[in-house]
Subunit: 218 residues, 2 copies
């Protein structure tokens, strides 16, 4: 297996990178700047990739914000909600069709490298809010990626039935550098501790009963 | 129906734009610069959109060439083949996963506009060379676009069983400005008359028995 990991520098895709490094014949990482407010995760993607000694490319596409307006994740005019990740209010953080765009770009990059697999870290905790994290979406993407070229290309999504706490446990077992990962949507110096992904991150370490190495503002 | 047309300024998508202008409640056009050698088609997309009096946006993403290397359509180091569009040699013009990338971007734009339809001009003549023009690819894209959001989004692809000559006939009947469209991959002042799409374009007008308004170099 030659696997391209869609890699944000966050906890989930870092655990996935560690898993692929163990399992695949070759592993590379691709990060994409789609104009997200928390561009800080891209800085962390470099640090994590370096620490894991994996080849890593960042594609800068800040112009995407121009056609995907109205999400609190890309538009500074829309307030970022606080609270739990799975709440209704978090719907403002949906970037329209984000995951299809990222997976399509990863597909093109994988094909140009003659890679056969895209690895994707969507997990069970994402489904409530993000339609493009549902297993049925991932299954349909696997089908369409297999038809996009004369060569076969698969979407590997080993986490679709796992919780974020399961990923913390797995990452801990794999010695993934969880302390270097970035989750916070606010993108300040430290994790804010209040936005949806911070609340979810804290909860996952607590449920996994693994000490949380993250420094929060509060 | 509120339809976003994936629009290159070429013949096929201009005929589609004319058809949607007749059929849909609202029609908008989206063009995408993915670093193609024939960026001239983008200039023509503006001219055609203006002539048809349809709202039009261009998304400039020339950085895509960085991750999609090796196609003669985006890489000036790879020679552009001459001959018929359906020949084996034309495979060097395949941009890896191009259509999924373009459709995914169109999907995000459509959702942010609350549009329900993406219109896509892939036709039967494209299938031999381009895997991502096959009907099975378009069907799978329709499925995945329907799952990408809580709102439904469809892929309308009325030309998948039509030949390019059929499109010339339809465009002529709809009074689409075929004379303003651009096909040539070489992207010089006039259509070169020798590259795959020029040969295909000439042939389509001849088969449709409609005078070809195009000025060729030869």
């Amino acid at each position: 297996m030659r696997a391209l990991v869609l890699f944000s520098g966050g906890l989930d895709s870092t655990v996935l990178a560690a898993k692929m490094k163990n399992e695949a014949d070759e592993t590379r990482l691709l990060s994409i700047d789609y104009g997200q407010r928390h561009a800080k995760e891209l800085d962390h993607s470099k640090i994590v990739a370096q620490q894991m000694d994996l080849p890593h490319q960042i594609l800068y596409l800040p112009q995407l914000g121009d056609i995907l307006g109205g999400s609190s994740l890309t538009d500074n005019n829309v307030a970022l909600p606080e609270g739990h990740y799975a709440e209704e209010s978090m719907k403002s953080t949906v970037v329209p069709n984000r995951n299809m765009i990222l997976l399509a770009l990863a597909g093109g990059h994988a094909l140009s490298l003659s890679y056969d697999t895209i690895a994707y870290a969507a997990h069970a905790g994402d489904h409530t809010i993000y339609p493009d994290c549902r297993p049925e979406f991932a299954n349909a993407m696997d089908t369409v990626l297999g038809l996009a070229d004369w060569e076969n290309l698969s979407l590997y999504r080993p986490f679709v039935s796992l919780s974020k706490a399961d990923l913390v446990t797995l990452g801990h077992d794999l010695k993934a550098p969880l302390d270097l990962t970035w989750s916070c949507y606010a993108g300040r110096e430290l994790h804010c501790g209040k936005c949806g992904t911070c609340v979810e991150r804290k909860e996952a370490f607590a449920l996994a009963k693994i000490p949380d190495p993250t420094k929060y503002e509060d």
